[in-house]
Symmetry: C2
């Protein structure tokens, strides 16, 4: 009954040589694809760009592979293999036809099953611009609950496949997020840095849309970073007219019932005149709310085009018959088009566009229908996705450091690709978002677990190579619930700690053990502080552990922080920063909103996987007081609070750390009272927030939020709680001129500041009704959820264990880096690219003005970075690594402010000297030996 602690750090470094080298897209080949392949338009007419497309969720009601094969059509009729078969066939029938494809996770599955002649055919279609990829990531990522690190990875994975398969013509020009439920500024920033010329989406707040329609501002320029110099993060953004559906009456998919064009006068119900008249009326009406004489219509929807003939046969006719009216003076010109062809026409219009600097959260599609529930839905999956990213980065790094032996070594064959793909799939907007069916959530988790299994082999191989020991390594994936059979049973074992960060960290290692005292030493044989403490009752039912260490729970403190508790209630009551001598009144408790069941006078909308809708603005308190116990020792002090049989918390303060750790345990949330519950924790402070609070965007730049307010449009607030919730991916804070309270989360969650000085975070949800957005399942998760500690939550050290004594020849320490990187620099990506090259991303992790010390440009010499790698060459790439940086040429757009976009500046220094400005990420392909 004691925990053994270790405290180690790992460093990574490299070294290198020569000059940039050609890789990736074929240079010199003149493409006929892209903008040059667009159909001609009519300058004096209204041009209607018909964009045939399919929206293929990478998992939602069915798993990604069920969708691919068309399995389980009883759940939803959808089979992507057939969509691609059919579209290719139909494109071949008429060279005017166009199609766009989006989700590389599916395209890749399909491609590998095709014959070489079919591959050649498809290549030709791509080269002629008849089949065009847009977006092109592995999936269409969620924007509210994803971390930028994983978004960049999944985009890279998809775009790399397109690049390697199709060369220049496979590079998407347009980002295309037609379905995600709100839009993050950081996504726009990333898309800009990935070289996209524009971005289109379908969903935004209904009030926002209506105001933009009135002012013709549905097309705008999004300036997506406060730190990056414009136009680095400027992204032209278009809001599509019908979500991503066709206009009413013009859906000709097999899944639709709209009347086909019946143009044989010898058969019944000839309807060409009717169709033409309806279409022209819709086009003219749509043109009234857009700026130019070009409009776009998305002709497709979810999993459409499985039988593309239906669509194309009728679209061919539509184009023919509408354009035939031109002979009689008709002023509408219809054409097959793509988003990039449409974008090109907008660019040619040489207009100015509204400038936007905030984001598109939260999303509401009606007065009581705020899509702010999914910020928290499926918190266990959200955490598992986040820890899997940490594991993947570790796996990637160790694949590089261990060399080829890591993939095939003493522990068998391992790979990082499986986890890369699993993580990429998990970024989908119905994956980590929590808006999928339960069996699909299980499938995502299984994929991550499979990926991790493959990585474990790789990691074991790599560590064997690096340490010289082939002793078996054990991984304890359930440490968060204090389960690790080896450490619980063994009398002597060693712990290997791999730190994927590029600087030393101090990391408390908590292990479940059964002994009462342990001797812990580091790699040099020196003793390491450690402390044995009982497992908390909420983590493990083990009553005999409860007695020995109870102490006075009224306060805990280390040299940085002092934390006080109310002696009457046991609740947190104050927090003092002992360095700055600041103190804040701080009370914290747990509450639940009673989820609306859809049965009230205002609206029939219930809370569900997507929607958050409390039926009252006042949450219920789980308990007004907590049963507490506290444990104090040399390494850690804990106050353990029990609020109810299903809600408890450990307040934890480590020696030498500036953060207070709050480890809550929730669940199963009881529903015996037939009430759906949305559980929050709320911090009430004396900070004078004046209705403001701050949240991160995809784990990077912070955005300021204001209660009942939107920066770029006039809000009529209709949901006082749900309408004030925002996504929190990694942190949120409240502040005034003196004090700031920051909460760092270990996964994506939703939260808000409903009252001044208050910050609440939604932790868990258990709901009894479906929220009528398609998933047809209540979000009724029965599992417990646990946090994993709030320290180093994004990339955390990987622990592995070896039973017994290590062989004396075992190398006990290794660093891949020659030295720690500067504090502002984050090693975002280090991964094997191909046999002779690596992909490296370095990130400046401070915002402009965020830190007096660290918000300055910082330079790193790549040659001096790695300890074991010889760098032969380096080439900078765009953020998604599918284009040479010096070949990036994006459309320039003029904001309505009249301000001309600043020219890009990419100062050329030594090829090895890399300067990073605040919030900048730079991406390099390194040739190595």
């Amino acid at each position: 009954m004691a925990a053994r602690c270790l405290h180690l750090a790992a460093l990574l470094s490299f070294f290198s040589g020569a000059l940039p080298f050609p890789l990736g897209p074929e240079a010199g080949k003149s493409p006929t694809c892209g903008y040059e392949s667009c159909h001609a338009t009519q300058p004096d007419m209204l041009n209607v760009h018909l964009v045939p497309h399919t929206h293929d969720d990478v998992g939602w009601l069915k798993t990604v592979d069920q969708y691919f094969y068309g399995d389980r059509n009883d759940i939803q009729h959808a089979g992507v293999q057939y969509i691609l078969d059919s579209v290719v066939d139909q494109l071949l029938k008429n060279p005017d036809r166009r199609f766009i494809y989006v989700e590389t996770a599916f395209f890749y599955r399909w491609w590998r099953q095709q014959s070489s002649s079919m591959k050649q055919t498809v290549k030709q279609l791509v080269e002629e611009g008849r089949l065009e990829f847009v977006n092109g990531g592995w999936c269409m990522s969620d924007e509210a609950t994803t971390h930028y690190s994983s978004v960049i990875d999944q985009m890279t994975l998809g775009l790399r496949f397109l690049n390697e398969t199709f060369g220049l013509c496979g590079r998407p020009r347009v980002a295309w997020h037609i379905d995600p439920f709100g839009h993050a500024r950081e996504h726009a920033s990333m898309f800009a840095q990935m070289g996209y010329d524009g971005f289109f989406f379908g969903r935004l707040d209904y009030q926002d849309r209506s105001q933009r329609m009135a002012t013709k501002d549905q097309e705008l320029l999004w300036r997506a970073s406060e730190s990056l110099t414009p136009p680095m993060a400027d992204l032209f953004t278009g809001i599509l007219p019908n979500g991503y559906n066709p206009p009413d009456g013009f859906c000709w998919d097999q899944s639709c019932d709209d009347p086909p064009i019946r143009d044989d006068p010898e058969l019944e119900d000839y309807n060409v005149d009717d169709v033409v008249n309806r279409f022209v009326a819709i086009a003219k009406s749509q043109s009234m709310v857009y700026k130019t004489n070009h409009i776009i219509m998305t002709m497709g929807s979810d999993f459409q085009y499985e039988n593309a003939n239906l669509w194309y046969k009728n679209l061919d006719k539509l184009i023919r018959y509408v354009n035939a009216e031109q002979a009689g003076g008709g002023k509408v010109n219809v054409l097959y088009s793509t988003p990039s062809c449409y974008l090109q026409e907008l660019h040619r219009a040489n207009s100015t566009w509204a400038l936007k600097t905030d984001d598109f959260f939260p999303y509401a599609d009606a007065a009581h229908d705020f899509w702010t529930g999914y910020f928290t839905s499926r918190p266990a999956l959200k955490r598992y996705e986040r820890i899997s990213n940490s594991n993947l980065q570790t796996c990637n790094q160790l694949e590089v450091l261990g060399g080829p032996d890591s993939r095939k070594g003493p522990f068998g064959e391992g790979d990082s690709q499986t986890l890369k793909e699993a993580m990429a799939v998990a970024q989908h907007h119905d994956a980590v978002s929590g808006t999928e069916k339960q069996h699909v959530a299980n499938d995502y988790a299984r994929r991550l677990a499979d990926g991790w299994q493959r990585c474990q082999v790789l990691v074991s191989n790599s560590l064997a190579a690096l340490s010289g020991s082939t002793a078996e390594r054990i991984y304890c994936d359930n440490l968060n619930i204090s389960v690790c059979p080896l450490t619980e049973a063994s009398k002597k074992f060693s712990v290997n700690v791999y730190n994927p960060l590029a600087r030393p960290v101090s990391h408390p290692v908590r292990l479940p053990v059964n002994g009462s005292s342990y001797e812990v030493t580091d790699a040099n044989g020196k003793p390491v502080d450690c402390q044995v403490l009982p497992v908390s009752s909420s983590t493990k039912e083990d009553p005999h552990l409860q007695d020995p260490l109870l102490q006075d729970p009224h306060s805990i403190q280390n040299k940085f922080l002092r934390v006080t508790f109310d002696p009457d209630t046991g609740l947190l009551s104050g927090l003092s920063n002992l360095e700055t001598k600041q103190s804040v009144k701080l009370s914290q408790n747990f509450y639940w909103y009673n989820a609306s069941d859809g049965n009230d006078a205002l609206s029939i909308q219930p809370s569900g996987a997507y929607i958050f809708r409390p039926n009252s603005s006042t949450p219920f308190t789980i308990s007004r007081s907590a049963k507490t116990e506290s444990i104090q020792g040399v390494v850690v002090q804990e106050v353990r609070q029990v609020f109810s049989p299903w809600a408890s918390q450990v307040v934890r303060l480590y020696a030498g750390r500036r953060e207070l750790e709050l480890e809550w345990t929730l669940g199963p949330v009881p529903i015996g009272d037939a009430l759906g519950k949305e559980v929050i924790t709320r911090f009430d402070t004396g900070i004078r927030t004046s209705e403001y609070f701050y949240t991160d965007s995809n784990g990077r730049e912070m955005l300021r939020r204001r209660k009942d307010f939107r920066p770029s449009w006039t809000l009529r607030q209709s949901e006082p709680i749900a309408g004030n919730y925002y996504p929190i991916n990694s942190r949120a804070f409240i502040k005034d001129e003196e004090d700031q309270l920051t909460v760092v989360t270990d996964r994506s969650q939703g939260g808000g500041s409903i009252h001044n000085g208050s910050l609440e975070i939604m932790l868990h949800r258990r709901l009894l009704y479906d929220d009528v957005r398609g998933v047809v399942e209540p979000l009724n998760e029965t599992s417990d959820i646990f946090p994993e500690g709030l320290v180093q939550v994004v990339l955390q050290p990987l622990l592995s264990f070896t039973e017994g004594e290590l062989h004396p020849d075992t190398r006990l320490e290794f660093s891949g880096l020659q030295a720690a990187l500067p504090p502002a620099v984050h090693l975002l990506t280090l991964t094997q690219w191909d046999e002779d090259s690596l992909l490296l991303r370095l990130e400046h992790q401070f915002q402009k003005g965020e830190s007096k010390v660290n918000s300055e440009p910082v330079t790193v010499n790549l040659q001096k970075m790695f300890s074991t790698l010889k760098l032969l060459g380096v080439s900078e790439m765009n953020l998604s690594a599918n284009q040479w940086k010096d070949e990036m040429k994006r459309f320039d757009w003029t904001p309505q402010t009249g301000e001309k976009p600043l020219l890009k500046e990419f100062p050329q220094r030594s090829v090895w000297e890399v300067t990073l400005r605040p919030m900048e990420i730079r991406t390099f392909l390194l040739r190595v030996r």
Copy 2:
């Protein structure tokens, strides 16, 4: 207030010349299609013939054109244009693939919209046997409610299109009636005479199937005529294993949810082994109930293959993976096949087959689910279809007789093609059968009406040419409800009577008039007997007409018949044949069965459009007595019986006729009591029937029926009424050694003999529940229905009217025939074939042994037949006119009786001398001037 009567006869005749001439299929071209294009099989394995097919109803839940275009997919997802598009595409992808197409009504619509290059492509597929036509009529006709005349016409229409479009390779070898609800012997006889080598169907009584499975007699030889010399009417008949569906778990259409073959080991749920094992198990199990080492599986169903890729992609894999087992000793061989390729293998097996001489009525798919309701469903449509055939034959004949002027003449452009196609569509097994939705029934009726409008123009033109008068001709299509504005208003008018039969008839003409006395003269100015009588109250509410002519209603008689009525009840009580001095006790009344509502202990099956299921075997009497009045005059005597406000009858005896006419009027059937009603009339006689009665098959040969008995299998009777109902297309009789009572009907109906001496006929049905066979609509017809008189019900004279005095130059009489044909010979078809040729069918209309005088061979000289046509040549054809008679070579099959099939004998006499044996129909193409 009087009716004016006319009594005229028309004769038709021709004359002719030279020798047979080549027409139709291209001679001399060696086909690679047909049997030669079949895939090889494995003699020592179980060969599984996969037959990809679609079953496309020519109207059912949607109209034929809605089905073609894929309109109204909200009712049912089905679009035939896309099916054909898709199948052709997919056939081109793999030369092994096969497809069969059946319904020429749809194929024709599709074909005329194709480009010439697509037509060429399809021709090649047909010539290589990859696309094969089976059945090939305009539709797949109903077998219970159709008349042979219209069936032959619709088959001719479809097969002619195939013949002219594809030549020899377009000739179907197999008849394919996979869906009709029971099978008529006359259909089998016709198919044999049309040259089909075999016949496959899907539906038969469940007990019959189960007995045939046990004895492996699901494939059999059907001897379909008692009169025609075998094998003239012998037809090999195969019963398909799964109706017309694929085996469970192997439906890969977009409309199905069966798991696709997931053969990518890198994706989830690899299932190749599972699929192969399941398939082999099903194949082996199926082979246990068939005779040879070949079995057939129908891979398709209703409107399937709209996206043929789904089917073929998975079938390709199935074939590959199952046959791959052969390398390891597997003994199952799967192949793409067609019904004719399967038939060829059965023929090669050189086996003997059970001989069947009765038919497959009634059809039950479970103990309480007898499909005997549709024999009567929609009686108004059934009558309209029948009268439309009469009109079409008249139109065809007058097109021939009037020459080109009939198609374009003083009354504009007319044609017979519209009505030909409307009639062909109406033969579909969800058309005249009455099993379609109401809106579709309306569409069939509209098509017939449109067709008749086009024919009226043609007839007017033709009569103008033949009579020399262009005076406007008026048609009164509502004479059956005593409506004809011209005759009701005019003081002087002339009536033209065209008799489409090839012999004189005496036909009473009944017209609504407003005068009280009329003078009627014939073409020679001689007076014609006539009688003015009041319109019956049930036909027209006009009370002042009721008083003057009431008489004693106890009996009416003419020189042939005496009919007596019960003075207490007013019901019919006796019938005497005054020539033979026979008398029978005969009472007749009207009853209704209370339709089952599906809510009883035995079964949940309600009565509906298909199913007849009374909830008691005892019908309710509408009224135990009738209010009667009678009218007696020189031309006609009537007893008018009123049973209820919605049920009445006129019993009518014309001077000089041997038949008694019963004209009932029913409806709207009341449902205020919430009880569905199936209305019958029943004749109870003293005839000692010993459980037997007789019904016609499609209006031709008679079949003997016996209560609670089936001639070829052991029946467990579970529905004492519905299980004893049979289709009556034109007549039914009961008899003993002395007496026979024959009822001739004016449309198809169902009927039975439940008690000895009794014959009942179902007249009308109004039901409140759907019977769960797909139509999803109760058969709730609200209209009245009327019979049209029972005299000359199949081909009746066409009346047209001219107002006022005729021009003195008008030719008042014309006959197309030089002389009446012999009494045994019926002029079945006389129609223009192309500019220089006619199609002629002559029929011997007596069965072997039916008549001492008329059941003998009879010879007609074609040269002496027509009065105005010069015959230049004659060629005999098969019954469907798509093959020269002397090129007919059908497979020979040996029945289990061991009896060798007799050789066909077609004695060659003079080309102009045509001998007809009992029940023989001979078809000639005549070249004319």
